[in-house]
Symmetry: C2
Subunit: 274 residues, 2 copies
């Protein structure tokens, strides 16, 4: 596969945060992107039935609904609530025709990361039947270690793999986002392993800006940072991945721009830097 | 060893950035701290001879001069300059009686991390004779992955260990800073290995604030973040480490405070949370 055409790319709605779901669908389809990954915040104001109608009529593929997860908690009531919420997530994904739910697995300040990872595996395990029945995959997204305090106790491909190996389901895999894992010395090996284990469900692209100004919302557009995206993409494809490349950029700076012009920049960055 | 008394702690001068070296020495000694780790910025305005006089007359131990490193570069002239600079660093460390030079090893935007790590090993190798002659140890400090773009291509204890294993010198080891490595699932094992290999030269403490506001200067004081410092310290001591616990907090918020009152907070945090 060569991802030189936009049809091999999907855009995450959060990339164009100022836009509604309808506006995203319309703009992405007209620009020639092949897909859209839908964040729940754009479903919330219109409801899932209307969201499903908009997405399905756009003709776009839907790699992912974003996001489920946040399994660990200090008490079982909160953990149970997280399971319910994740099942609702799976239902929404099925409704809009999303291939997978991306899981930001969670972490709790004061809880040892090893314990949090145990609770994550347990929580995912409790959702797998529902995922299978709904024909929706679950993809663990390892998050950068700078999010280990309260967002994700899984910070490398390796820890995501260990959960997959423990639960062994064709419905459970990994979403590999270059932003989170580019620094990992084991990245090439882990991508190859995920390919061999058929758990490489998603591939997200953006860039890491040197002198990043904010831990959450200062991602770079592909090509303006230090990540060798083309090389990582070659590993992912050698591992057998043939899904869409998902563009996921959180950027306060970019959200302030005219989003139509910005989408043209995104399309250009996809063609030149991925 | 029990680090419940301040004499088992050293403070990095950068922790009290507004203070001169003389002010730091005076305040740390009067407060009962056992040592001081000296950043080069406080030496620069007074010169190394005067700095050595001040530090030596304080009676404080000096675990570290901070910092050498920054070895990788795109051309050999720049790499040669880095070697010269690191040798000057070693000379300064010897002059002030510092046990080690802490190495922030460097990284170059656009250079693959694996290549940068090769250049780091080569650069350190070129400094080891000078270190041995000067009786000054070199300690690789793995930096958090969020600094992989341009500050350090060594982001886990493991990669620091690989360089130590390659160069095998009693003058080369590792400075373990909880801020950088607390999230690493291999941390306990790597600390034990460093102990067995006698490369555990330094132990730095501070804390990771949930909702960190800045990538550089928003570290927490011990106890106000999510790092289980007591547990990590128990691993370090089980591995045979018996040096001073070094307090190293970069905090714009704290630098704006009255530093005398802040130092009392630091002393309290050492007693209660390390």
């Amino acid at each position: 596969m060569s991802a030189t055409t936009l049809s091999h790319f999907a855009v995450h709605t959060m990339t164009n945060k100022p836009w509604s779901l309808a506006r995203c669908c319309d703009a992405y389809a007209r620009a020639g992107f092949g897909g859209i990954s839908v964040w729940r915040n754009v479903i919330e104001p219109i409801g899932v039935a209307e969201a499903a109608r908009i997405v399905r009529s756009s003709g776009l593929k839907v790699p992912a609904l974003v996001r489920g997860g946040f399994f660990p908690a200090l008490d079982s009531t909160t953990r149970d609530k997280a399971i319910d919420e994740n099942k609702r997530c799976i239902d929404e994904a099925a409704a809009i025709g999303a291939e997978m739910v991306v899981l930001v697995v969670g972490a709790v300040v004061g809880m040892p990361l090893a314990e949090a990872r145990k609770q994550v595996a347990e929580g995912i395990g409790r959702c797998l039947d529902h995922a299978e029945k709904s024909r929706v995959k679950l993809a663990i997204e390892p998050l950068h270690p700078m999010y280990a305090a309260d967002r994700s106790c899984i910070n490398r491909m390796r820890e995501a793999r260990l959960v997959c190996e423990e639960l062994r389901s064709p419905w459970l895999g990994i979403a590999c986002d270059v932003y989170h894992v580019w620094w990992d010395p084991d990245l090439a090996d882990e991508i190859a392993l995920a390919g061999a284990q058929q758990t490489l469900f998603g591939f997200h692209v953006c860039d890491w800006r040197p002198n990043t100004r904010d831990l959450l919302n200062d991602r770079g557009l592909m090509g303006e940072g230090c990540i060798d995206i083309k090389t990582i993409r070659s590993w992912v494809e050698r591992a057998g991945f043939n899904g869409l490349n998902e563009v996921e950029v959180f950027s306060t700076e970019r959200w302030a721009l005219d989003q139509d012009g910005y989408l043209r920049q995104i399309a250009d960055a996809c063609a030149r830097h991925v």
